[in-house]
Amino acid sequence: MRSDPTLKAPLTINWAINNNCNFLCRHCYSRSDTTEELSGEVLCAAMKRVAATGVLSVNFGGGEPLLRRDLLAIASCAAGCGMRVSMNSNGYLIDGEKAVALKNAGFSKVGISIDSHEALVHDRFRGVAGSHERAVNALGRLREAGIKTSISTVICTFNHEQIDNLIEFALANKVSQLNFHNFKCSGLGLANKDELDLTPVQWQEFYRKALRAKEQVKELDISLDDPIIASLGLKSGSSLVKGSVCGKLSLNIKSNGDITPCGFIPVVIGNIIRDDLKEIWDNSPVLERLRHKTPTGKCASCSDYGECLGGCSARALAMTGDFNSPDPHCWIP
């Protein structure tokens, strides 16, 4: 009935408002990023311009956003511009009082990173003892404050066989969504890739099971954000666009205002302070190339290319230097 409209602006911006963190995660993509932070005042002015272009939502990340003392003011500014406000946090600093303050500042959803249903496993991976307990506590406090919650789990070697346990854990903690994030080879994720990343065959097995669970578990929204699953038959309307969403529906802004297609593609296409977002969105040659990728290698003869468009562009770029290359996670020979 309807063709996809030409998007006048990103739907959502993933916005890293700081880089400092109280955790030592072994897959962190931003730990090596030492860029400066914008002041709250400058951020707020930038968010007003972003909202005026039509962006519907901002998702704060970092770093740990709660380490910014002016987070509540920044969120209030974004919400005041009419944007939906959410963030990803490790949950360590969220108690009942903070949860209420986040709600009052305009947060509608907070995603908490939890990588295992087992506290010790999570704590070891995140590098902070007691972090699992505090993350679980944060989920409860946020829910009590009226904020929707989700769990973000980065799939890697130590949790990829724990799908059922992770789902049971999410249900027990009454979250609205469980996000299984695919492993990105960025920052420390690249440095620790050999230890943490799965083989293509392991990814295939994981996604087969996760898709089956997604169909069976109706009480929980299980999100799988990896374009390579198109070859397993997930071609329903639940996919927003074909291939990576980066540069098609969303953009990333770093703590110094630099704009990149996504948080895992370290290609700066402008800066939110000095450049016009609309101009970048419409005319960036990098975005143009991401939106119109050229199949190379095994993708050139693959019957699934039309659905997955080569898979995750960030991973291809990190491992081969070219985001047109086949996704290194792809299991198709």
Binding site: R2, S3, D4, P5, T6, K8, L11, G237, S238, L240
Partner: protein, 104 residues
């Protein structure tokens, strides 16, 4: 009869360029049914709507179906019965996706 409300969790916006394209087609008497002019976005699900769908969506503010149809008849040159069926089918689709809800 039930009042129809948009789900407040759904984010949405109109797309100016596509809207202009659809308006230009309509002015020339061409079919704009296939031109998406707005999009709805919620929890990873996105739906695009054409001109008629967009107008219906914007009227899901507590109005009843008959009120929406009556208003649309002033804007679009269509048979009332055909329009009523189209509107009912469209709303059913939105309700299934959880984008609207009904209140007595």
């Amino acid at each position: 009869m039930s009042k129809i409300y948009r789900n407040p969790d759904v984010m949405w916006r109109e797309e100016d360029e596509s809207r202009e394209q659809a308006n230009a087609a309509l002015e020339k008497g061409e079919n704009a049914e296939d031109i998406g002019t707005s999009l709805l976005f919620s929890d990873g699900m996105m739906v695009t709507l054409n001109v008629l769908g967009t107008e219906i969506w914007k009227m899901c503010d507590g109005r009843e179906v008959d009120e929406i149809v009556a208003e649309l008849l002033t804007q679009f040159d269509v048979e009332a019965d055909v329009l009523k069926n189209d509107v009912a089918g469209f709303l059913e689709e939105l309700a299934e996706k959880g984008f609207i809800h009904y209140e007595e």
